[in-house]
């Protein structure tokens, strides 16, 4: 579902426009100076809508209609919401005039319009053919109005933007992406002045729309496991918000759902870790047999990583013990009676791979490249420490083995 503004050949949509306004010359009177929007779903134009900007930050909804076969699907409501949000930046009040149709007036009231005024004898003076509704001839035009700026609430917008930022940062997005998303969401809901300060584990936002006082909020975000699928989803959502297709409430609901997106199933992750270990072991010089053992080591290692995650064991312990597990398993494989003699190097190198902090490393570099030095250094230290932890684990196990006298076999 997409809404487009039409600037050329507006007459092409006359069929649909005539549904809401039966006289063609009346439509032509306003069509040229107004903005025409169409709602396209699956290649077909389902709804049209015409808005005429007036003086003094006012505008008038001149025409809104939906194809007969698509009625009752909420298209008009969706369209109206889009129009209200779009014009709230330039207008304060939107008017709409209609005949005395109960259903239509009820529809506008549901969308937040209230009674404004009545233009007497509008229909009887301007339309050649008399229009009848329930056997009663329409004579007067009833006007309804809606205050547009009430829909923009700085607090709500900033809360939404901050939530999006929190989810992004928590799941391993770069600093500039968080910054861009927060600013983009705020701007698309007409909060024009936004300042952000983002660290690797905290977000500060201050925003105002020029009417109310500035609103500032701080959020602390602990470092945790990353989930790139969520980053991709939030990115997609922020694009849609910027395009103007999502309301604040809808965006909130979708963010909540995105935040609860589960990680891949654990056995799948364990197998993936095994595959990673096996194939990189082979790539870095292991034999086929050694890579198969590396596969097993990778699987067992990841079982440990997942268990540790469940019990919130610190990163340092996870990696040191991970290094020990890899080495012990590789050393054990050395002593098992396999068909061919195995060497320890390939197995350990393969086994280490699932622990390597690729994401933190790459993000650190990108933050530094974007001149976000503070977050970049924090993440870089985080990544380097993980390398050190792994080395400590592997080194510890190797030296214990050496001292036990098995070193001759190494």
């Amino acid at each position: 579902m997409k809404i487009r503004q039409i600037t050329r050949n507006k007459d092409e949509y006359m069929d649909l426009l005539l549904m809401a306004d039966p006289q063609e010359d009346m439509i032509e009177r306003y069509l040229d100076k107004s903005d025409l929007y169409v709602l396209v779903n699956g290649g077909d134009v389902c709804s049209v809508c015409v808005v005429e900007p007036l003086k003094n930050r006012k505008c008038e909804l001149k025409n809104i209609a939906t194809r007969t076969e698509d009625r009752g699907k909420g298209y008009a409501k969706y369209m109206l919401r889009y129009i209200c949000e779009r014009y709230s930046a330039t207008c304060d009040v939107m008017y709409v005039g209609t005949g005395n149709y109960k259903e239509i007036i009820r529809f506008y009231e549901r969308c937040g319009f209230i009674h404004s005024h009545i233009v007497a004898n509008f229909f009887s003076e301007n339309y050649r053919e008399p229009i009848y509704e329930d056997g009663v001839r329409l004579t007067d035009m009833i006007y309804l109005k809606k205050q547009l700026d009430s829909s923009v609430d700085v607090k709500k917008v900033v809360d939404l933007a901050l939530e999006a930022g929190r989810i992004l940062l928590k799941n391993g997005a770069e600093i500039f992406r968080v910054d861009e998303t927060i600013t983009r969401i705020c701007n698309s809901f007409h909060v024009e002045y936004v300042d952000t300060f983002i660290l690797s584990h905290a977000i500060f936002v201050s925003a105002e729309n020029g009417v109310e006082e500035a609103y500032t909020k701080v959020k602390q975000i602990p470092l945790s496991a990353s989930h790139l699928g969520i980053v991709a989803e939030v990115n997609e959502l922020s694009r849609e918000i910027a395009g103007g297709f999502v309301s604040i409430e809808e965006a909130k609901e979708r963010l909540r759902r995105i935040d609860q997106m589960p990680a891949k199933r654990s056995y799948f992750q364990v197998l993936a870790a095994g595959m990673g270990s096996g194939s990189f072991g082979y790539l870095l010089g292991a034999t086929a047999l050694e890579s198969v053992i590396a596969f097993g080591i990778g699987c067992i290692l990841y079982v440990w990583v997942l268990t540790a995650k469940k019990y919130n064991i610190s990163k340092m312990l996870v990696n040191i013990i991970g290094g020990v597990i890899i080495t012990v398993l590789a050393l054990a494989a050395l002593h098992l009676p396999f068909a061919a003699p195995v060497k320890i190097d390939g197995m350990i190198i393969g086994g280490i791979m699932p622990l390597v902090p690729g994401l933190a490393f790459v993000n650190a570099i990108r933050d530094i490249a974007d001149s976000d030095f503070l977050s970049g250094t924090v993440r870089m230290i985080d990544a380097l420490l993980v390398f050190v932890y792994i080395a400590v684990g592997v080194g510890f196990a190797l030296s214990v083995y050496n001292n036990m006298g098995g070193g001759l076999m190494l």
Binding site: S279, V356, V394, G395
Partner: protein
Amino acid sequence: MIHNFIMHVICPFVGTVAFAVLFNVPKRFYLCCGCTGAAGWLMYHMVMIYGGSAATASFCGTLVVVLLSRILTVVMKCPITIFLVSGIIPLVPGAGIYYTVFYMVNNELAEAARRGMESAKVAFAIVLAIVFVVSLPRKYFQPLYWMERKERKIRKG
């Protein structure tokens, strides 16, 4: 030939996809992640064959990975991190860490220092390559820019 193919195309491909799974990358990106990883490794391997040092090879491999990632980001409309992180994994000096520790434990400190320095050099090459490509302006990766440029040229000519 077949062995080489398995070794230098299938292996990095499978490995990269496996890491994409660990990073919870959505399914629809697996293929692209795998290709990025394989392409980066192939470049690395080529440079190694023609006598480049590990650092040079990593630099070239990373260049390929980052360039591909930036192009794929525009095509698939998703964050660059997805391709970049998975694609770079084959080039991360995991082996370097191991050998450094191994020689340190065996008290061959000179060799340990040599390996350690080499890993550091590789890491630095990766950093340089990423910074280099990431700093290119965004517009060069948008098809619209090149189309407009072509049009302008045609109009001039």
